[in-house]
């Protein structure tokens, strides 16, 4: 609802446009107005809204959990501590069931992924026009509030996970072990190129599928919320309420899947085949 002459497609496009800061082709720096301008900025541009919300939610998560961790009590846990303990225990349980090695990173990593992704997904349940409209009133032309509907955010996480996969593979099995894993199976040493192709695709598919799954689910969900928001205001609730309720399931599930797959991939990296 940024302008008066509003059509459905421009409304949708407006909602799917990130607040992109970068260098225009003519050399000036600034906010991109419209998808073409943003695309023209190339790689060296940044989505301010995605960064703001993801970092803000990450800090919210850490602040909340740190607050509970600082005055953690063994005998009389308070309300916040109960909640935090529940989450920690849940994640710890999931990690212990899947990952049997010794690694101090995986459990906190899984907790961070689960809570952070969940919080970012949760922004999807904020009515689609609230925050963008508020931002428009403050003079900000574009505002996407759900960081996980930005492929950059999900890829950023999944590539970090990918780096960890490669790092631990090499750390546990050594360079030769890792290379051997990529080249000597499943068909033995006479089929090395074919093995490498197969395993390489398998390895690269991990971060890509991880990122695309989360992005796809949340993007689709967001899109449907936007489509519902185009409908006449009197009947919007009839569709948005069931979709939002269903979406509560989706956002938790997607956060859980991202966490679980990260644990599984990292535990695979620790194991010899």
């Amino acid at each position: 609802m940024a302008s008066e002459n509003l059509t459905a497609s421009s409304y949708i496009q407006h909602h799917l446009q990130n607040l992109t800061y970068g260098q225009h082709p003519d050399g000036t720096w600034g906010i991109a107005h419209g998808a073409e301008e943003a695309a023209a900025m190339g790689f060296w541009a940044i989505h301010l809204d995605t960064m703001l919300f993801s970092i803000g939610l990450g800090i919210l998560f850490l602040w909340l959990f740190r607050k509970a961790a600082k005055k953690v009590s063994v005998d009389t846990p308070s309300g916040l501590q109960n909640f935090v303990e529940m989450m920690v225990e849940f994640v710890d349980q999931s990690v212990k069931e899947t990952f049997h090695g010794k690694n101090k990173v995986i459990a906190p990593l899984a907790l961070t992924i689960f809570v952070w992704v969940f919080l970012m997904n949760l922004m999807d349940l904020v009515p689609v026009d609230f925050l963008p409209h508020l931002a428009t009133l403050l003079g900000v032309p574009y505002f996407r509030v759900v960081p996980t509907t930005d492929l950059n955010a999900t890829l950023g996480m999944s590539i970090s996970v990918f780096i960890l996969i490669v790092y631990y593979s090499i750390k546990v099995k050594g360079v030769s072990g890792f290379v051997g894993e990529l080249t000597l199976q499943p068909f033995g040493k006479w089929m090395i190129p074919f093995n490498l192709l197969l395993e390489g695709v398998g390895l690269l598919a991990k971060p890509v599928s991880l990122a695309l799954r989360l992005f796809g689910n949340l993007y689709a969900g967001e899109l449907i919320f936007i489509l519902i928001a185009i409908l006449p205001w009197g009947i919007q609730w009839a569709l948005s309420v069931p979709w939002a309720i269903f979406h509560i399931l989706v956002i938790v599930l997607q956060a859980f899947i991202f966490m679980m797959l990260t644990i599984v991939y990292l535990s695979m990296a620790h194991e010899d085949h």
């Binding site: 940044i46 960064m51 959990f65 961790a69 920690v88 990173v105 906190p108 950023g156």
Partner: protein, 156 residues
């Protein structure tokens, strides 16, 4: 949908968040959880131990009670025995005392009898003399006749 610098920014913030979580959030909470589970386990252990101790103590108490009952019975028996003994001794003593007293009394009585006889004898001699004096109508020389009278008295 552009891939741009946001990706790297996300990766960096993700790394920082994970590091912070690993450093400052996870350890204290998990330590508290572990400590609590240890505490609970210890508590259950202590409860079990206490139950066992209680059982043992009860057993001991029962045994001691039985022992002391036995001891008491023994003591009572001994006391009864001793009492009987004392009674018997007392009876014997009393009998002996009685006998002794009776004997003494008897001896005294006999002595008294002898003494009375003696007194009577002396009186008889005097009486006999007085009677003889009256019968003879004359005074008898006491000195001359006392020997005879005494002889007489002895014969009585």
């Amino acid at each position: 949908m552009n891939i741009n610098l946001t990706l790297i920014g996300q990766a960096i913030s993700f790394a920082i968040f994970v590091w912070f979580c690993m450093k400052f959030v996870w350890p204290p909470i998990i330590a508290a959880l572990e400590e609590r589970s240890k505490k609970i386990a210890d508590g259950l252990d202590a409860a079990n131990r206490a139950e066992r101790d209680l059982e043992l103590a009860q057993e001991k108490a029962t045994q001691q009670l039985r022992e002391s009952k036995e001891q008491a019975a023994e003591i009572i028996e001994q006391a009864n025995k001793r009492a009987n003994q004392i009674i018997d001794e007392a009876k014997e003593q009393a009998l002996a005392d009685g006998k002794r007293l009776r004997d003494a009394a008897q001896a005294e009585i006999e002595q008294d009898v002898v003494r009375a006889k003696e007194a009577l004898r002396s009186q008889v001699s005097t009486l006999a003399l007085a009677g003889a004096e009256k019968i003879l109508g004359a005074s008898v020389d006491e000195k001359a006749h006392s020997e005879i009278v005494e002889q007489l008295a002895k014969e009585l």
